[in-house]
């Protein structure tokens, strides 16, 4: 028995020593919330695959997540043509993939060609417009390449932030990486192991090769509670995106672990169904299509309370379609919608609504009652809906909350239009308004309140269409902004989307990490991975 105990102790000590050695050798650990669907950077459509792509993919240009400006990476310089159809890249010389194969303009050409090929079904191809087969790629030399697209693309250079260049020669294909790390091991459902790319081209100001951290272990862990527990125990180094509730819990345990980078690019919003032939009562459709009604509802919602109570003050009342976190495109002239039930009621009276005995009635005597659908299981949205229910009750509107499973919800809002109002969120990975074209154009699939219009049904939607198209044909960002500022003003005035809050970008980072500088843009916590390092120590924090 004694021998067994001794053996056990020896084994335990060995495991602890090995663990300590692994960490002191520089292994960063954090969790992916699902299995990456692909390691092919051109087919990425989920968050886990995007994480792997960010850490392993080499791109021509990169948006600096802190300054939100475009910086050279594999391309030392680039030039966009005046008509915004062509882009020419001058590539860095003597760059090699993780497996030693050289990087040349042929790789860029092969990557773009494959991305634009319809049979690839690359989710990124949409951003570069239709007519993939018409894309003209000219390799001028091993370090010079010009790509011409079928139509003008505003913000063309910024789109290359997501295009990881795949080797055209390497037998390892997409597994040969140009980024700071490469995939060394992967056990499905368990982990993805990344090792430092020995051929990574970047060096710091002192000439030291980057990245500093030797390896990254991405544990696949869907349960947020377990992720938090592991962070507390010091088994992982960071949590990239934290819920407000988890943030506060972690803060109460160790305040030095958590970072609130302020409002993120994401927003939570509510909208009314304005589809003319939707299976909704005609008198209700009339309310929903009235900008006075929508604006009054917007004014009756206490956004400050939503941000304070539902998100524990880790959110900001939303001002409009663009978060203030989007430094360039946010329209600073816009003012937050004031919470004022008195003004809201007066605005409703303009449309013939009357408040009698605590019940708001329209001109024809119908009591104002509608339902809002949201996805079941999302406690933040359910809580927001419950608070809005009480807020609207103050102006005599009865709101019924319906939580649905996600497929049923999508079917109702995108196919059958069998709903009255919806409460959902928008996740914005990019900064450029062109990425939201499908949402703002009246013909767009994601023009949620009334999608796929043959021609704009309202004058203000026609104006949005014109402004969005005009900005997309310009290359000068300042001129584009004038148009997009106008779009934001119209959206706030007409309230097709009632923007509620912008969630803050919350993350947890171990004190044993140096160089971390969490930001609002994805990936918030590890955007500067190559500059991050681990301090020596057995414990993570």
């Amino acid at each position: 028995m004694k021998a067994f105990r001794t053996l056990g102790l020896v084994l335990l000590a060995a495991v602890m020593t090995l663990t300590a050695m692994a960490q002191s050798a520089g292994e960063l650990r954090f969790c992916l919330r699902s299995e990456p669907r692909t390691f092919d950077p051109l087919l990425v459509s989920d968050e886990a695959s995007d994480t792997v792509r960010y850490l392993t993919g080499g791109v021509l240009v990169r948006i600096n997540r802190q300054t939100q400006t475009l910086e050279p990476e594999l391309a030392s310089s680039w030039k966009v043509s005046k008509d915004s159809r062509s882009i020419s890249f001058a590539l860095r010389d003597r760059i090699f993939y993780s497996d030693g194969s050289p990087f040349t303009a042929d790789d860029v050409a092969a990557t773009v060609k494959r991305m634009m090929a319809p049979e690839t079904h690359s989710p990124m191809a949409d951003a570069f417009g239709a007519g993939g087969e018409k894309t003209d790629i000219k390799v001028l030399s091993p370090t010079r390449v010009t790509i011409t697209f079928a139509a003008p693309i505003a913000g063309l250079d910024r789109l290359f932030d997501e295009v990881a260049i795949v080797s055209s020669r390497s037998p390892r294909k997409e597994m040969a990486a140009l980024g700071p790390y490469y995939v060394a091991d992967h056990k499905a459902g368990s982990y993805v192991y990344l090792r430092r790319n020995p051929n990574y081209w970047k060096k710091d100001s002192s000439g030291q090769a980057m990245p500093y951290i030797e390896a990254i272990r991405l544990d696949i862990q869907a349960n947020r509670d377990i992720e938090l527990l592991r962070m507390q125990r010091g088994e992982i180094h960071l949590i990239n995106s934290l819920d407000a509730e988890y943030f506060d819990r972690l803060k109460s345990i160790n305040p030095s672990l958590v970072y609130d980078a302020g409002p993120s690019l994401d927003s939570e919003q509510m909208w009314f169904n304005q589809v003319p032939n939707a299976p909704v009562a005609a008198y209700k459709l009339k309310w929903f299509r009235s900008s006075n009604f929508r604006h009054a509802v917007s004014m009756a919602i206490n956004r400050a309370d939503l941000a304070r109570i539902v998100f524990g003050s880790h959110a900001q009342p939303a001002i409009g379609p663009v978060s203030p976190a989007n430094k360039f495109w946010f329209n600073r002239k816009l003012r937050p919608t004031q919470y004022d039930t008195g003004v809201a009621l007066r605005q409703l009276q303009q449309d013939g609504f009357r408040l009698n005995g605590g019940v708001l009635r329209d001109r024809e005597g119908h009591a104002v009652e509608f339902s809002v659908i949201t996805n079941a299981g999302n406690k933040y949205r359910e809580r927001m809906a419950t608070m809005i229910q009480q807020d609207l009750g103050k102006i005599g509107i009865r709101l019924n909350i319906v939580t649905l499973d996600f497929p049923s919800l999508i079917e109702r809002i995108a196919e059958k239009f069998n709903y009255e109002a919806a409460l959902l969120g928008t996740v914005n990975a990019g900064l450029d308004p062109n990425e939201q074209m499908n949402m703002w154009l009246s013909s767009g699939e994601n023009h949620q309140w009334n999608p796929r219009q043959k021609s704009p049904e309202t004058t203000w939607e026609a104006e949005i269409d014109r402004a969005m198209k005009a900005q997309s044909q310009l290359s000068n960002p300042m001129k584009r902004k004038v148009y997009f500022d106008r779009v934001q003003e119209i959206v706030v005035r007409e309230a097709p989307f009632i923007y509620l809050v912008n969630r803050n970008a919350l993350s947890a980072i171990s004190t044993s990490i140096r160089g971390a500088a969490p930001v609002a843009m994805r990936p918030q916590a590890y955007w500067n991975i190559e500059r991050m390092s681990l301090t020596d120590g057995k414990k993570v924090h």
Binding site: G377, E382, Q390, N400, S408
Partner: protein, 268 residues
């Protein structure tokens, strides 16, 4: 054991009485949001503290108990009635009818009921008041919960159909309806009441499951399901152990129901 059953009855009656007097006992409405007192600890004003939206947890527990405990028996009654009609019909008609019905019951029992409920819930009209949504939720539970009891009822009725008393009744020319009502149904009552009592705690827990998924009773109405959602995370419980009270009450009531049910089954 007898003492335990008595205790169970006392618990059930006390809980029922407390929930019936919810409006008298609670200091505020179940939906009132005290937005400056969110997630508050128990106090004189809020005996069980407040939830994340500042609603009085004690009031929500009383009203939630009233809903869950009041409507679960109604749903159980509906399921038992369906089981009596479908199972009883199959058992009494026998032959192909019984075989066909058995296949249908087996098929129904094979269906994943939770998904069935989710689908059925998604197909319902959206614009219904919270009270109607409660009735719909429990109505669905009742409408989908008949298959298990129906199998028991079918077997019992098939046995009764060939019993001596039924043969004698038939021999003296009693009509089939009269046989069913006067000879079979009274003998079936203890089985039906046992099935009813089995279903009550099952439906209480089913609603709690649906509520945990956010698919149960609509806001702002409380139910045990929605109250139990507060216990989704371990951290909330360690920092605010009073959140465990709804779970404690649920366990107490379900165990009491099972004890009472055991008593009824024995006497049946």
């Amino acid at each position: 054991m007898k003492l335990l059953r008595k205790l169970a009855w006392i618990i059930l009656l006390t809980v029922a009485a407390l929930s019936a007097m919810a409006s008298v006992l609670s200091t505020s409405g179940y939906a009132t949001q005290f937005r400056e007192e969110t997630s508050a600890a128990p106090s004189r004003q809020h005996w069980l503290g407040t939830d994340e939206l500042g609603r009085d947890r004690f009031a929500r527990l009383l009203y939630g108990t009233r809903i869950s405990l009041g409507l679960a028996p109604v749903a159980a009654l509906l399921a038992t009635a369906l089981a009596a009609a479908i199972g009883g019909g199959a058992g009494y008609l026998g032959g192909r009818w019984q075989r066909g019905m058995t296949v249908m019951i087996d098929l129904f029992l094979c269906l994943p009921w939770l998904f069935l409920l989710v689908i059925a819930r998604a197909m319902l009209p959206l614009n219904v008041s919270p009270m109607v949504s409660v009735l719909v939720t429990f109505g669905l539970l009742g409408a989908l919960g008949w298959a298990g009891p129906a199998r028991v009822v079918a077997a019992s009725v098939a046995a009764l159909r060939d019993s001596e008393c039924v043969l004698q009744a038939r021999a003296v020319g009693t009509t089939e309806w009269r046989i069913l009502l006067r000879h079979i149904f009274p003998r079936l009552l203890p089985i039906l009441s046992a099935q009813f009592l089995i279903l009550v705690p099952v439906f209480v827990l089913s609603e709690a499951n649906l509520g945990m998924l956010g698919l149960g009773v609509a806001e702002p109405l409380p139910s045990w399901g929605s109250l139990l959602r507060e216990m989704e995370s371990l951290y909330g419980l360690t920092s605010a152990p009073w959140r465990l009270v709804p779970l404690g009450l649920l366990m107490l009531v379900v165990n009491s129901l099972q004890l009472v049910m055991g008593d009824e089954e024995t006497s049946a």
